[in-house]
């Protein structure tokens, strides 16, 4: 295999690899990752040469320790010390009612059915409320749980058992009150399209620990993708290699993963061997390092074909674990085939539970960022399948046991400390009942001023409630938080400095937390 003409190619490849690195250069030249720019190039330059050399001389399997230039998802050092290696972000698309789940307001109950005072309506824009709506206290009881005495609605049956691991944030505020823009704002830092999602920032900053799997995986349930579409896990101005990869429970777990019918795995190996030999011929003739990179990508793809279905196969889990989550391998909910999935939701729908279990398996395998989107939380009360009294309890039962199991399971495996769990919607819901002309059930409109999210693990101090809202849950009165603070916390826990992690685009240093960098780490949240 060793040929003298191959040896003479090495320097050329090394040089050419620098051309390929135009991309990486753009990405990293301003990025502060605890490395100076020069150091970065020095390191990359050296290892590129060695990889090309090793590969071509041995003709053997590609080295798994790819460098940044070989693989933009190769793991990188943190910028600051970080507690979390992984994030599991559970997004309840549509936005659940904080007032019926976390934020008990006895005072509000007293006013149920009474007209909303003028000062709460003046100068405000609502999505659906028109005129003067009535106040709506929660129909659900609240109880204190755990040593922390954290208050939870009776709808939560399982979460109380792990509540001392959980930090409840009651005063999160957002700028947006429509689903699409609010989801974009929360997940990409801007209400416009074109921003980069949190997960893509995480993989851009840190790479991924397992090259055989995507670094940023997205799982959806509830029958629909989030309102803002796939841009909420897009990479925006960052290169597309950092975008979230949607993994699916039906069909290929990763798109196009399976070999075509009639080509088995040994057969695929044979074709890839031939492909590799031919591409090496090409490298000899032209000397383009991009070809070397392409050879490596095909080998990665081959390994992903093996790894991803294994990791994605929850039927490999023991029975007690499946039961713990309420997971059912291969479960296809009826709601999936319903014209409006919300009308067919059942408390036993196991899709979200399956995704929680998958999330654990993915994190265990080194995936950096796992994001679950569960649709169907937009409870206006205008039509069946979207109200506070009937639908909300069903939705909570779909997630309660699974989230609790996820926290426990990560904990018992020693992974909770290094895995940050984030739960929440894109905004909250109004203390007023929605009053649409066609109102059929109790429901609430969109409320951006104060809503509840929670976090657990990943260096978060559990067993506490942060922030307090006023007597009816309209505004924050203690420790107001902003969506930007949540974004900053997630990056910070991963060891990425939210104020410094940036990407130069259109002449500006773009950041997840916005160009102005207005964010603070919530006091007392971090352990």
């Amino acid at each position: 295999m060793i040929q003298s003409d191959m040896l003479s190619l090495i320097p050329i490849l090394e040089m050419r690899m620098r051309l390929k690195m135009t991309l990486e250069r753009e990405i990293f030249e301003d990025q502060i990752l605890g490395m100076t720019r020069r150091h970065f190039f020095g390191q990359a330059g050296l290892s590129l040469g060695s990889i090309a050399l090793a590969q071509m001389l041995s003709g053997s399997q590609v080295q798994s320790a790819e460098t940044v230039a070989q693989n933009p998802l190769a793991p990188r050092r943190t910028m600051i010390p970080g507690k979390a290696k992984h994030v599991i972000y559970l997004h309840m698309a549509g936005s659940p009612s904080q007032l019926d789940l976390f934020d008990d307001k006895p005072e509000l109950r007293k006013y149920t059915g009474k007209a909303c005072p003028d000062e709460l309506l003046k100068g405000k824009r609502f999505a659906f409320i028109r005129g003067v709506p009535n106040m709506l206290g929660s129909p659900f009881k609240f109880l204190k749980h755990g040593q922390s005495g954290t208050e939870l609605s009776e709808l939560w049956q399982h979460l109380p058992s792990v509540i001392d691991k959980v930090a409840v944030l009651k005063t999160v505020k957002t700028d947006q009150f429509n689903h699409g823009p609010a989801q974009l704002y929360l997940h990409t830092g801007t209400n416009q399209f074109g921003g980069a999602s949190i997960g893509s920032w995480a993989t851009y900053g840190l790479g991924s620990e397992n090259a055989d799997l995507p670094g940023f995986v997205v799982l959806t349930s509830g029958g629909k993708t989030p309102d803002a579409g796939k841009s909420v896990w897009g990479s925006g101005y960052l290169p597309s290699v950092y975008q979230g990869v949607q993994c699916r429970s039906e069909g290929d777990p990763v798109l196009f993963l399976a070999n075509p019918p009639g080509l088995d795995r040994p057969g695929r190996r044979r074709t890839l061997d031939a492909l590799k030999q031919l591409n090496e011929e090409q490298t000899k003739a032209i000397g383009d390092p991009e070809t070397v990179t392409r050879i490596a990508q095909y080998e990665l793809a081959y390994r992903m074909q093996m790894t991803a279905p294994e990791v994605m196969d929850i039927s490999r889990e023991p029975k007690h674990i499946l039961e713990m989550y309420g997971a059912v391998p291969g479960f296809v909910p009826e709601s999936d085939s319903a014209a409006d999935p919300r009308t067919a939701y059942k408390a036993t729908d196991a899709q979200f539970a399956n995704n929680c279990l998958l999330a654990r398996r993915l994190v265990e395998s080194g995936v950096r960022f796992v994001q679950l989107f569960d649709w169907g939380w937009d409870h206006h009360g205008v039509s069946p399948g979207e109200d506070i009294v009937n639908t909300l309890p069903i939705k909570v039962r779909q997630i309660d046991r699974a989230i609790t199991a996820l926290i426990k399971d990560l904990d018992q495996r020693g992974l909770l400390n290094e895995t940050l769990i984030v739960w929440g919607g894109e905004f909250g819901r109004t203390p007023m009942a929605q009053n649409s002309p066609n109102q059929k059930f109790p429901g609430r409109d969109h409320h951006p001023y104060a809503f509840t999210m929670f976090m657990a693990g990943g260096g978060i101090k559990g067993g506490q409630t942060i922030g307090k809202t006023d007597d009816i849950g309209y505004y924050a009165v203690e420790q107001p938080l902003d969506v930007r603070d949540i974004q900053a916390t997630i990056l910070n826990q991963l060891g990425l400095d939210p104020w410094k992690l940036h990407f130069n685009y259109q002449g500006l240093d773009q950041r997840l937390i916005g160009v102005e960098g207005k964010a603070t780490l919530p006091k007392g949240l971090i352990a």
Binding site: I12, M15, R16, L19, T22, L23, I32, G34, R38, H39, F41, G42, Q43, G45, L46, P72, R125, A127, F128, N178, K224, T225, P226, A228, G229, K230, P239, V241, Q243, E250, V254, L255, F256, N259, P260, P261, G262, L263, G267, R270, T271, A274, L275, L278, E281, Q282, I286, G287, D288, E290, T291, R294, L300, A301, W375, D445, H446, Q506, G507, L508
Partner: protein
């Protein structure tokens, strides 16, 4: 330091490597630190000031500190009461130097700690600039381009046209010899891909190879420029910028017929509609006196903005978001400016104030569209096929009407008439395209500044006008979009021509002469060949803004016709190939990969125009909220159309395109950043589209030559895909694979059947299934070759 202490020996080793490597990196910058070399203000100094100083000492008056601007000559040199920021020729008297070198925390600039400080070579550059006389020039891109005389190349003869003189001059001074001309197989493949987005057919290759006339290449260029595929290829680039898609975006993301606009762009490209007219029609076709349907259709360009149909949205909020998008897109596409930065506050780096932004916004704030669910105003633009359909329906309707005049009305006739009218309406609806329509005088909106970019926080009234620091509208022109279109093409406009030629250059060479095509402002990169950029810009204008002439000029250059092989010499001297001593290889664009596979396999449909189509897409991809639209694979040849015609749903773009770096078309996209990932490999290996292409290709191979001559069949497959004869080693490797696979498929007929027929369908009579299946494996390998996926 703390970081370094962890690194130990590895760092030392790396740093050593670095020192070796850095000696050929960014030569101009390094060179400036050397006192002997003349510092170029625009290239060397201004970027340092912009990067480090302008955010506090720049155009933004709100953020400005010490009332000092370092982007304006007067401020930089003025006496500020005993001191000046810069005193030409006197380093020690220049305050700027004492500040950037100061160790006193209160004095040191830029503030913000050690990591904000200037690098030693940057300080050296500024010092040398001052000691060399501190020559000042405005930002290069804001000065009008001028054609300089062609550089005289001394004793080395090379080149076909003016481009080569500029390229050779730089190569010469870097002591790099340009590559020789690529072989003819490479040339026709490169040229076909660049001009038409398609690889050449086997006949086209043979014809070109056989043509030994001196002007064979020139005639090939003309043939390709005249090909209808030319318009399809160049429309693709424009449609990324026009954020063309088939749905409205946001939550419901319902479909919206915009395809007639796409077809308009293709036709405009094919007719070589001059850039100024092309622009005028799109920005203001509705305002052109005696405008035609074609011109009104062109205005759909700015109706490609998103419409938010989510329940409970404020239409004015999303109307103003759409107008902002139009303003930002206009300035991005034509002027290469990051104008959108000035929405919330004045631009930090370029002379664009917030009031400039809303003055320009005012031009675009007078159209009748208003984020409505019905997308009004709109107009139906039936295409040729539809016009004929409507004609025949009309005829039948007329004849039925005549018939009903004779006898008593019958129910059957009535039903028939109704169905004819329904059919006609369906056709009209399928081509009902949103367009621009100016509000009447009475209904015009008063534009106000949106404070902090918030439409709910109105500031001062502004009237329509162009940004202060750029040329004014020509006297006597009304303040409307038509005048904006004229202003963009005013002789004094420094940017429009440069930005366009740079983008065209990038389409051929993978990177523009300005490597930040989206930013020609102060924070953008300086051009690698400023004189060449200006030469092309002025020539583009002089040749009547003809894109085809521009293409012709570029592809006829020797620079373009070079081989792409990397010699050790040029790799060492110019690793990033900035100087273009070789042709840069680049991966094909998403659409080109699809089109190439379909063409090689013979499946590609030559059909042009019409509603967007749905090729194979895995099930379950579309799950938009409050939307029950379904992806239904198009019947017949429509599933084999060029990638350009694939239906684009914004919230759920076609996955194979997205993974191959195509944008989701929600906002204007000036360039695609090419990546190289395992997910891309999975597409060309396993996506049904590529499996079917492999099957079709294998059938072509199977039928070729002698029944038992496998080498011949493989060579034919390579010829169809790569456009060149096979090499000995390639045949050896693939023939071995063939025998191996054949042994397998002989024992597994079921697999052989799937591999050879699913999804393409049953084999023709007499085809040997196991042999075709084995060839399908070969074809699958060939369609994944680096060479196949790359422009040579």
């Amino acid at each position: 330091m703390s970081v370094r202490s962890h690194l130990g020996a590895k760092l030392v080793r790396n740093l050593c490597t670095l020192i070796v490597l850095s000696s050929f990196e960014v030569q101009p910058r390094i060179a400036c630190a050397d006192e002997a070399v003349k510092v170029d203000f625009a290239r060397d100094v201004r970027p340092i000031l912009s990067r480090n100083c302008f955010s506090c000492h720049g155009p933004d008056s709100v953020q400005r500190k010490a009332k000092l601007r370092l982007d304006v000559k007067a401020d930089v040199f003025s006496d500020r009461g005993g001191w000046s920021a810069v005193v030409a020729g006197k380093v020690s008297e220049s305050e700027i130097i004492s500040r950037i070198t100061s160790h006193d925390k209160a004095e040191a600039m830029p503030p913000g700690g050690p990591e904000k400080r200037l690098k030693p070579e940057e300080i050296a550059t500024l010092t040398n600039w001052i000691s060399q006389g501190a020559q000042w020039r405005n930002h290069w891109a804001f000065e009008k381009p001028v054609k300089t005389s062609l550089p005289e190349s001394s004793n080395y003869r090379w080149g076909q046209n003016a481009i080569d003189s500029f390229i050779l001059q730089r190569l010469h001074s870097a002591k790099i010899t340009p590559n020789p001309e690529a072989d003819k197989n490479t040339l026709i493949r490169r040229l076909s891909l660049d001009l038409t987005g398609l690889p050449p057919t086997s006949d086209q290759i043979s014809e070109f190879l056989a043509d030994t006339e001196a002007d064979a290449y020139d005639r090939l260029v003309e043939r390709l420029l005249a090909s209808p595929s030319y318009g399809e290829r160049w429309a693709r680039i424009w449609l990324d910028m026009a954020r063309f898609a088939d749905t409205r975006g946001y939550e419901k993301d319902r479909s919206r017929p915009m395809w007639r606009y796409r077809d308009w762009v293709i036709s405009a490209m094919n007719q070589d509609l001059p850039y100024d007219q092309f622009t005028r029609d799109q920005l203001a076709g509705d305002l052109v006196l005696g405008n035609t349907p074609e011109k009104r259709l062109a205005t759909a360009f700015h109706r490609n903005t998103l419409t938010n149909e989510e329940g409970g949205t404020d239409d004015e909020e999303f109307r103003s978001a759409a107008v902002k998008d139009r303003v930002d897109t206009t300035m991005q596409v034509w002027m290469g400016l990051t104008f959108g930065c000035a929405k919330c506050h004045s631009h930090k780096y370029d002379p664009i104030s917030q009031s400039d932004y809303y003055k320009f916004y005012a031009f675009f704030n007078q159209t009748a569209d208003n984020d409505r669910g019905d997308e009004s105003p709109f107009e139906s633009f039936p295409n040729t096929v539809q016009v004929l359909e409507i004609k025949s329906l009309d005829q039948e309707i007329t004849s039925m009407a005549e018939k009903s005049n004779i006898g008593p009305p019958k129910k059957a006739d009535f039903d028939r008439l109704k169905s004819l009218h329904d059919k006609k309406n369906q056709i009209l609806e399928a081509c009902r395209t949103p367009i621009y329509q100016e509000l009447s005088e009475k209904a015009r909106r008063q534009t106000k500044i949106h404070q902090r970019g918030n439409f709910l926080d109105p500031g001062a009234d502004v009237s329509a006008g162009t940004p202060e620091s750029f040329p004014k509208l020509k006297k006597g022109l009304p303040a409307n979009r038509l005048s904006v279109a004229a202003w963009l093409f005013d002789d004094e406009n420094p940017l429009t021509a440069r930005v366009a030629v740079n983008r065209h250059w990038a389409a051929f060479f993978g990177q523009g002469l300005v490597s930040t095509p989206e930013d020609f402002g102060s924070q953008g990169q300086s051009p690698s060949h400023p004189e060449l950029l200006d030469y092309l810009a002025v020539t583009f204008r002089e040749t009547g803004w003809s894109f085809k002439s521009l293409c012709r000029l570029i592809v006829k250059s020797a620079t373009y016709r070079q081989a792409s092989t990397v010699s050790l010499e040029s790799a060492k001297l110019d690793p990033s190939n900035i100087l273009l001593g070789r042709f840069p290889r680049n991966r094909l664009e998403a659409e080109m990969i699809r089109d190439s596979a379909l063409r090689a396999s013979g499946l590609l449909s030559p059909k042009m125009f019409g509603p967007s189509v749905m090729p194979y897409q895995p099930d379950g991809i579309w799950r938009s909220t409050y939307n029950t639209d379904k992806w239904v694979t198009s019947p017949g040849e429509d599933k084999y159309r060029r990638g350009l015609y694939t239906f684009i749903k914004r919230t759920s773009p076609y996955p194979a395109m997205l993974t191959m770096d195509a944008p989701s078309r929600e906002i204007c996209s000036i360039r695609r950043i090419t990546t190289n990932t395992p997910l891309q490999a999975l597409i060309t290996l396993n996506d049904t589209v590529y499996i079917e292409a492999a099957q079709a290709l294998s059938r072509r191979m199977y039928q070729y030559g002698n029944r038992n001559d496998v080498d011949q069949k493989i060579a034919y497959g390579l010829h169809l895909t790569l456009g060149r004869p096979a090499k000995f080693n390639e045949l050896k490797i693939l023939a071995a694979l063939y025998q191996d696979r054949l042994a397998f498929y002989k024992t597994d007929q079921k697999s052989a059947q799937s591999m050879s027929t699913n999804p393409l369908g049953p084999l023709p009579e007499g085809f040997q299934m196991d042999e075709v299946a084995s060839l399908t494996n070969i074809a699958n390998v060939i369609l994944n070759l680096d060479e196949f996926l790359t422009k040579p």
